[in-house]
């Protein structure tokens, strides 16, 4: 069933796939996750504030991003914007697309986490004379961070897989690398399965890291 030629192809393509994963897929995912989280926290803070206009802008942003397909968003940014005079490098286009997406989805996670912190924690902070921003920074956000670790880790794992959509806008990450090798070897089943296996490997390592991170946070919460 598995002849020598196929084994050779598998072997030869493993290194390029791993390289593309480590040098292109992971950096794109990591960078857009970090930037997306900053955007998410800012969006969540605006949404729990009493600032009317910024609040409406934040709601509109979350509504649009969550209600439209990510691939379509990427196409608009990369293929559409040039028509408006904005030409972006594939990496930058992908980075913007994924950051906006992480920002919108994670803002809901962060917002829910902040709202889940009991009112008594705010009151204890206020009773010490803290301002709202001190109470947020010192008391509420650190506890909200603990609550958000599991759902945010899941978002990050999803993001690793979603970066394959960037192949659609010519960014040569792992999936596009698999496509390129397929184009010369004519072995789609082999190559795409191999790429899937590498994604699986990445996500499994991340699950273990997630577990360790949760354990670290468990120091202060019973069970």
């Amino acid at each position: 069933m598995m002849d020598e030629r196929k084994l050779q192809i598998l072997q030869d393509s493993l290194l390029p796939l791993l390289q593309a994963g480590l040098a292109y897929t992971l950096p794109l995912a990591l960078l857009s996750f970090v930037l997306g989280l900053l955007l998410a926290v800012a969006t969540a803070l605006v949404r729990i504030s009493s600032w009317y206009i910024p609040q409406q802008i934040a709601r509109f942003y979350v509504w649009v991003i969550r209600g439209t397909p990510l691939l379509v968003q990427l196409f608009i940014i990369f293929y559409g914007l040039p028509a408006a005079g904005v030409v972006l490098d594939p990496f930058i286009a992908a980075l913007i697309g994924f950051t906006l997406s992480v920002g919108a989805y994670s803002s809901e996670i962060v917002r829910a986490a902040i709202l889940s912190i009991p009112k008594g924690q705010w009151e204890a902070a206020y009773s010490l004379g803290m301002t709202r921003s001190q109470a947020l920074r010192r008391i509420v956000l650190p506890q909200a961070a603990r609550v958000s670790v599991p759902p945010l880790s899941n978002s990050f794992i999803s993001l690793i897989k979603d970066t394959s959509l960037a192949a659609g806008i010519t960014y040569v990450e792992m999936f596009r690398t698999a496509q390129q090798i397929t184009a010369v070897t004519y072995e789609p089943l082999l190559l795409y399965s191999e790429a899937a296996a590498v994604y699986l490997l990445f996500c499994s390592v991340l699950s273990v890291l997630q577990h360790l991170l949760e354990r670290r946070f468990d120091r202060y919460s019973a069970a």
Binding site: A124, Q143, Y220
Partner: protein, 249 residues
């Protein structure tokens, strides 16, 4: 020290405080008793502006705030007044992500911008005072309820407030842990700490109070030295409340 004049507070259509007048001298202990729903917690929360009264005025340690319907209170004035008070809650509200010592240091470091070294020194001293030397590095969930409440008392004292406010500090505790918390409060009273305490512990109230206030339906029915309120009040509602308490014991 504390001067409350004609304080009113409503939640929507529900009038909870209907003209409260109080004054308390430096170093004295005021104990508030009264049936459930009479407005004790609301009054205490008004004293450090966790609730903003509708009308009336409040003065604590030379800091005065006047309340008027529709007029807000500047955030700065609110914080200035809160720094004069320390609050101990019924269910502790310790910060779960911080150790006992970090809980006590939080006010001095974050609010008063004191150095960490200085705050740690003060924190250790206060934890020692409430009988928790050696528990500095424990997280709240590793402590019993009585220990948590004593950390909360140390935390409230750390910013050197002029008045400590207690809202039923032992109600959430198992009966065998009540004593250790009351002991700390008694000790503070003996040292001349100014305190306002809401409690259902009548014997403790009679012992520790310089002034006893009996609330009912958002007004003060009776106030004075505990002997006077307990033994000589002629007010029928007072007799009724005290009799009911007596019957429970």
């Amino acid at each position: 020290m504390i001067e409350v004049r004609d304080l009113h507070k409503s939640f929507g259509p529900l009038a909870v405080l209907k003209g409260i007048n109080l004054s308390l001298a430096h170093g004295k202990v005021l104990v508030i008793i009264g049936p459930s729903g009479s407005g004790k917690t609301t009054l205490l929360r008004c004293l450090n502006l966790l609730e903003i009264p509708d009308t009336g005025s409040l003065g604590i340690g030379g800091q005065r705030v006047e309340f008027a319907a529709g007029g807000g209170v500047p955030a700065k004035a609110v914080r200035a007044l809160r720094l004069k008070t320390g609050m101990v809650f019924q269910s502790f509200h310790l910060f779960p992500h911080m150790t006992a010592l970090q809980n006590v240091m939080e006010g001095p470091v974050t609010v008063q911008k004191r150095s960490r070294t200085e705050a740690a020194l003060l924190g250790r001293e206060l934890l020692g005072k409430v009988g928790l030397a050696g528990k500095e590095d424990a997280y709240p969930h590793q402590l019993s309820g009585g220990q948590q409440q004593r950390v909360a008392i140390a935390r409230a004292m750390a910013t050197s407030p002029e008045v400590l406010l207690f809202d039923e500090p032992t109600s959430a505790l198992d009966p065998e842990l009540v004593g250790e918390v009351l002991k700390v409060i008694r000790q503070l009273a003996a040292e001349g700490m100014t305190m306002v305490i809401v409690t259902h512990e009548m014997k403790f109230a009679a012992d520790v109070a310089d002034q006893l206030v009996l609330m009912d339906g958002g007004v003060i029915l009776e106030q004075g030295p505990p002997e006077q309120v307990f033994d000589h009040s002629a007010h029928p509602r007072v007799r009724q409340f005290l009799n009911r308490l007596g019957g429970e014991e």
